[in-house]
């Protein structure tokens, strides 16, 4: 619980920081201007800062240009394309939100009849909730919206179990690897580091074998089975990552808790885990990412009704042509939750990927 509250607090703090940024910038500017006016600061100082900031902005812009490019093609109506033989256009010539509407489709909460039986009587109270229409795509000329919502639901129901299972496997292991000395510890650690990258790209032959096994066990088309698989692939790298992070937590916290009379599991839940927040956030995002973006295995194992977002995205691609606008809009909507998470969790990821503890 306290973890959740911590996250909420941090988010609120971030929001405050963001909200105050303009105020702060303004204050900064006024302060600098005054000091320049008084002749205390040479005017080149603020100029240097402005120059450096502009330079950095240019770098960021260049880096994000492909994303911008995609966004433009998504905005340029259904016939959009990233190929434009008519010259370089930085803005869509005929902007339209239709592709996004097509992706999102209707957002309508249907009317429900809620029946509450009054106990010990035969009476029942029926509430009729109104139909809530947030967005009616057909009103904007989009008649056959994508199945994004069902893909989205499938992706969620794959990714969330993935994260939960992975966390259950990763957290105890990384704690043990970080804090305990036991037989085979170094061997396990070594294997994990070794396996962090080996194993991908093994080709599809492998997949066929895997698929055959799944079918034999009757697990194909099971989102849960897929989640277990993803969790398994996420184990080595993330265990190692979290272990490295935990190494950086001073043992004295733990010792303080032990002396205070805390049993091991309480030490972990009350001290180690809260202090590993950044590491956990990073692992969380990485494992979530596995489930959210994986394509090949999902495509092989799942039936159409269980298609996840990447598979759905790829089904837009035809043998010959790619509907660029829809494809891009789909990908952007697909990526946006992750992007939001990145936006807010950036400093945790930075903290979680900090290998400063690895001095050797």
């Amino acid at each position: 619980m306290s973890l959740v509250r911590g996250v909420v607090d941090k988010l609120a703090e971030d929001a405050r920081t963001v909200a105050y940024t303009p105020v702060e910038v303004g204050r900064d500017a006024v302060y600098t201007a005054r000091s320049v006016a008084r002749g205390e600061t040479s005017p080149t100082e603020p100029l240097k800062s402005v120059g450096a900031t502009l330079g950095a902005l240019v770098v960021v812009t260049l880096l994000l240009f492909p994303v911008y490019w995609i966004l433009m093609s998504a905005l340029s109506g259904t016939g959009g394309s990233i190929y434009s033989s008519g010259g370089l256009h930085l803005l869509p010539q005929d902007p339209s939100l239709k592709p996004f509407l097509w992706v999102v489709g209707d957002l309508i909460v249907p009317a429900y009849a809620i029946t509450v039986n009054v106990p010990f009587t035969n009476l029942a109270v029926v509430f009729n909730t109104p139909e809530l229409v947030f967005l009616d795509a057909s009103a904007y000329g989009v008649d056959n919206p994508s199945e994004f919502k069902s893909f989205f639901w499938n992706s969620l129901t794959v990714s969330i179990p993935t994260v939960i299972i992975a966390m259950c496997l990763i957290i105890p292991a990384s704690y043990a690897l970080s804090r305990r000395e036991f037989i085979f510890r170094r061997k396990v650690l070594f294997t994990y580091v070794l396996l962090t990258q080996v194993g991908g790209g093994l080709g599809i032959a492998l997949l066929i074998g895997l698929y055959a096994v799944y079918v034999q066990v009757g697990l194909n088309n099971s989102k849960l089975a897929l989640a277990v698989y993803y969790a398994a692939t996420a184990v080595p790298f993330n265990t190692w990552l979290l272990k490295t992070y935990m190494d950086g937590i001073p043992t004295s916290y733990e010792e303080a808790a032990v002396v205070d009379g805390a049993p091991p599991w309480r030490v972990v839940t009350e001290v180690i885990l809260p202090l590993s927040a950044a590491g956990l956030a990073t692992v969380f995002i990485f494992t979530f990412l596995t489930g959210w973006t994986e394509f090949v295995v999902a495509q092989t194992l799942l039936g159409t009704e269980n298609y996840t977002l990447p598979v759905g995205l790829y089904s837009l691609v035809d043998e010959y042509s790619i509907p660029w606008a829809r494809f891009s809009a789909f990908a952007l909507v697909f990526a946006s939750p992750l992007m939001l998470v990145y936006l807010f969790a950036q400093r945790y990821i930075e903290g979680g990927l900090s290998f400063s503890g690895m001095e050797g």
Partner: protein, 374 residues
């Protein structure tokens, strides 16, 4: 409340390549405040951690009260420990930090816990900080919270591992008195580790001095100061340190003359001289404390040159040419110029004599002997 008994405690690290603590035995009485002092790496923390149960001894045993706790897990020992870096949980508020031990080791209701925490906080003067997070506190406040966290549990035994070493000089003095006051009030048996001999001297009912894992001497601060068992203890306790002069003893019957190249000459008489002769040692190490060195009139003492004059306000420290780092602590109105030649002297009763090779005190009388003699 409890006594603590250490029996031939030994701790090896690295498969025996490092012997951190070597055969340490001593007893802490109920309600006593014992300070453990020694240079860095001498095994103080290791000893303390064995008592807490955070390390298990290689051999020997530990008793707290009546129970042998050698194999008891730390969390069942009912001790409280204050760490050097405070080890306050950064994600918990002060209140939660303090209540944590109670939550873990007692069945108190939430209200009861809160009541106790608030009581203790009041005692420590941190009642206003209860809802702050540790990183919003200053060093002294953190220290107080760390103490409070230990106190609120009312444990059998307090362990302190250099709890003041991260504070600045002034704050250290204040906190020192505060800890003493608290311990007096609560009367809980305490073991306090420090590398600062002044802290050890002023705070402890008794003092245990460790070196290289070996217990050198245990005793009341004043006894240890006046009657160090060996040159190491003599040099370690007291500030500025005891001055040492390597001397040759030549003597006949009644008197023994201790001399050193460069004009140092000191004559021992009486009982002391007799015991020196009896020991048959040729080379001795003479120890004399800076405050026992006085500037004598010309002709009456040992002539020496002034190297540095260090004023500390209340006194002046004269660095003299007698031997390396030979210091005389004199009144602040005694202000010789650098390179002046002055003469110094000191009482025979203030002289400590040590075997130059083993460092053993020649004149050491264990307290027991003294007591017996009385």
């Amino acid at each position: 409340m409890a006594t603590v008994t250490l029996d031939n405690l030994r701790k090896e690290f690295d498969n025996g390549r490092i012997v951190a603590v070597d055969d340490v035995s001593f007893e802490v009485e109920d309600g006593e405040f014992v300070t453990v002092v020694g240079p860095s790496g001498c095994g103080k923390s290791t000893t303390l951690r064995m008592i807490a149960g955070l390390e298990s001894p290689t051999s020997g045993s530990i008793r707290i009260g009546e129970a042998d706790v050698t194999d008891v897990h730390a969390r069942h020992r009912d001790v409280a420990m204050v760490f050097q870096n405070y080890a306050l949980y950064p994600h918990k508020t002060v209140r939660q930090n303090m209540a944590f031990g109670l939550r873990m080791s007692t069945d108190f209701s939430k209200d009861e816990r809160n009541r106790r925490v608030e009581e203790t906080a009041e005692m420590m003067g941190i009642e206003d900080l209860l809802d702050d997070k540790p990183n919003e506190l200053s060093g002294g406040q953190k220290q107080r919270v760390a103490l409070g966290r230990a106190i609120v549990r009312e444990p059998d035994l307090f362990l302190f591992d250099e709890p003041l070493s991260n504070l600045d000089a002034k704050l250290r003095t204040t906190m020192r008195t505060e800890i003493q006051r608290l311990q007096n009030e609560l009367g809980i048996t305490s073991i306090y580790v420090t590398h600062d001999q002044e802290e050890a001297m002023t705070m402890g009912d008794r003092l245990a001095i460790l070196k290289d894992g070996i217990l050198q001497q245990v005793g009341k601060p004043k006894d240890v100061y006046e009657n160090p068992k060996n040159a190491f203890v003599g040099g370690f306790v007291g500030s500025p340190s005891m001055n040492f002069v390597e001397v040759e003893a030549t003597g006949d019957g009644g008197t023994v003359t201790l001399s050193k190249d460069g004009g140092f000459d000191y004559t021992l008489t009486g009982d002391v001289a007799r015991r020196v002769s009896e020991s048959g040692l040729q080379t001795l190490r003479l120890g004399v404390r800076p405050e026992d060195v006085t500037v004598a009139d010309t002709g009456a003492g040992i002539p020496t040159t002034v190297d540095v004059v260090e004023p500390v306000g209340s006194d002046n420290y004269l660095h003299l040419d007698v031997d390396v780092d030979f210091i005389a602590r004199v009144d602040s109105d005694v202000e010789p110029e650098v390179d002046d030649t002055i003469e110094i002297t000191f009482d025979q009763s203030d002289v400590h004599l040590f075997d130059a090779t083993t460092g053993e005190a020649l004149l050491y009388e264990s307290q027991e002997t003294e007591l017996a003699a009385q």
